[in-house]
């Protein structure tokens, strides 16, 4: 059986800058890959390339299908992308928004069939959004909106889920809940997840494997305790941190440098 995602020598050029440089990666089915790296490292570009949204060089195979030759609709049936800041038209209802996730399964000029409504209903129920079904998106809180966006991605019924900073706008509790939900979905629906994340401790706890990007290049790959070292984080993030390992998890704690004593 082929891997869920197999990219070879993937490069993305945005204008004059090379946002992603020759990255090769393999993600197994059901795996959660955490994508980390400082701002501008190329995480978003890599995700957009894997979703077929921007031109790239190199080869990408999704579930064994070559991305370069697949149609937009075929790609959308394989990959669901949750962007960092999703557009959520405030007048749409939750049901309408989640139904839009069915687009790759609906004929170009057709409208939803019974199966599409059932799939949307299932996604709504799965993310505990039943009470919100007819609510307008504009009336929801940040945490609720995040679940609605996940429901839309789930309704898409794509085996690969790409998340770009899924927790940026959420408070601490909501961050954990969202990631727990993604993890539960991954297990129940047998999804493969690639998530770009800023919070390194959370990334380390939820991802099976981390991939550290810097200036478009893959600089480190492996389990959290292998990738997250004080030295690496200081090199690539220019941050001063302390690494704490507890209960098999790695925590990255920001630390203020001790000031040199004044003369």
């Amino acid at each position: 059986m082929s891997a869920a995602i197999e990219a070879r020598e993937l490069s993305v050029r945005l204008g004059r800058t090379e946002a992603v440089r020759s990255v090769s990666l393999t993600v197994q089915r059901g795996e959660w890959l955490g994508l980390i790296g400082p701002n501008g490292a190329g995480k978003t570009s890599l995700l957009r390339a894997l979703a077929g949204l921007i031109p790239f060089t190199g080869t990408v195979r999704l579930d064994g299908n070559a991305l370069e030759t697949a149609t937009r609709r075929e790609v959308a049936r394989l990959v669901a992308l949750v962007p960092q800041i999703p557009q959520t038209p405030s007048e749409l209802t939750v049901a309408e928004y989640v139904l839009l996730g069915r687009t790759p399964h609906i004929g170009y000029l057709a409208t939803e069939k019974r199966d599409d409504r059932l799939a949307a209903e299932r996604a709504i129920a799965r993310l505990a959004l039943r009470p919100f079904t007819e609510r307008r998106l504009g009336s929801l809180s940040g945490g609720e909106l995040q679940r609605v966006v996940l429901a839309r991605a789930l309704a898409q019924q794509a085996p690969i889920l790409l998340l770009d900073e899924p927790t940026t706008a959420l408070d601490l509790g909501r961050q954990q809940q969202a990631l727990e939900l993604v993890d539960a979905l991954r297990r129940d629906e047998e999804l493969t997840v690639i998530a770009a994340m800023h919070d390194l401790s959370l990334a380390g706890q939820y991802a099976d494997r981390l991939l550290l990007l810097d200036r478009g290049q893959l600089v480190s790959e492996g389990a959290a305790f292998e990738v997250l070292s004080e030295e690496r984080i200081s090199t690539y993030y220019e941050a001063s941190v302390e690494i704490v390992e507890r209960n098999g998890h790695v925590f990255v704690l920001p630390r203020r440098e001790d000031r040199a004593c004044a003369p």
Binding site: R48, A51, L53, R72, R73, E74, V75, A76, R77, V79, A80, L81, P83, P86, Q87, P89, S90, E91, L92, T93, A95, E96, V98, L99, L100, G101, T103, P104, I106, Y108, L109, A110, T111, E112, R114, R117, L118, A120, E121, I124, A125, R126, L127, A128, L129, R130, P131, T133, E134, G138, S141, G143, E144, Q156, Q176, Q177, E180, L181, D183, A184
Partner: protein
Amino acid sequence: MSAEATRERPLATKTCSRCGGEFGCLQGQSGCWCEAVELTRATLAELRASADDCLCPSCLEEFAERDRRLTEAQVRRQRGWAKALPHPAVRARGVSPLWAAAAALFVLAVLVFSLANGPLSIGVGAIAASALSHLPLVHVQSGLNALESAIVWQVRAPRVVLGALVGGMLAVAGSAYQGVFRNPLADPYLLGVAAGAGLGATLAISYAAAAERAGELLPLAAFAGAVCAVAGAYVLGRSVGGARTTGTLILAGVTVAAFMTAVQTFVQQQHSQTLQAVYSWLLGGFAGASWHQVLLMSPYVVVSSTVILLHRRVLDVLSLGDEEAASLGLNVRRTRLLIVAAATAGTAAAVAVSGLIGFVGIIVPHTIRLLVSSSYRAIVPLSLLAGAGFLVLADVLARTVLSPDELPIGVVTAFFGAPFFAVVLRTTRRVGM
């Protein structure tokens, strides 16, 4: 996942709608007890239909017990049955029958009203009798004398039908432009249709007024000018690498329009004797409406509005932005080109027969958006009807207010349109595009 993890708000205490006992709702594994307790689809569907609200976990467990006793064959059969019933709330709101009826009634009332009213008032009953007398197999005495019949069927009817076609077309095209560009201020003239048609008409009036069949040349020139302007804007927008962003396309439209307006002004300046003719054409109107024009116009309206109507769900997908629409499998660039092309062809045809009639393309879709729904499933079809009704109504005012003189229809639509537009601007936040 723990129950804690999905709780968005403090535990809701609810009363079970079956046994009346109190229980904590939203407490199941994924938020709802119906998700935590395993039930067959059939049972879930049955509960949905029979219970007013949530059931407590112990009642649900009873149903689960009943389900577990079912044989596999029964379960399979029940699944088939339950499959037929998605929850009624999980749907996209389209046009409700009530709004559809209201819009249809509005158009019908306006049509009859404007057939009956004019310098010569003619009874509605007589018109109806006359209409029936034209039908085969119906033997009704026409209630109109020859003059009245000619006024109704050769003067007013084509004018009313043309007004309806143009109004519907402009409103639908406006809604399409607003959807494609995700811009509440977009109107059918956004990409230079107005400037292009104006230039075409000015050229025809200035250089070909003496030509044979000059009357037929004018609409043709206006149509060609309009289509050229939008094509030019599109090509320019693409060449800047910007079909990706709608902003570049709009800027390209502004550029092309500015250039064409400059040329038009120059030509006008050179032929100042044509100013009057150009000006009155620009203001628009239906004074010379004929069945011939209706025939000329209708194929464009039918094709263009059909294409846009078929794209009503796609327009909703586009409201998520280009990138997300693309990630949902839409070829955004091709879709946008198709919708813009359809809207432009229809608008150009409308402009060719009636001149530049402003505001219809903005007011009507926004009214629908405010009153009914912001989904294009409602906006597009209702705009077609409401636009037709609105413009016919405006035309009645145009020809009756100063009777026997006529007001330019552009003055009427703008007189009502401008104040309305101010309101729209103030409520754009609510429109939420």
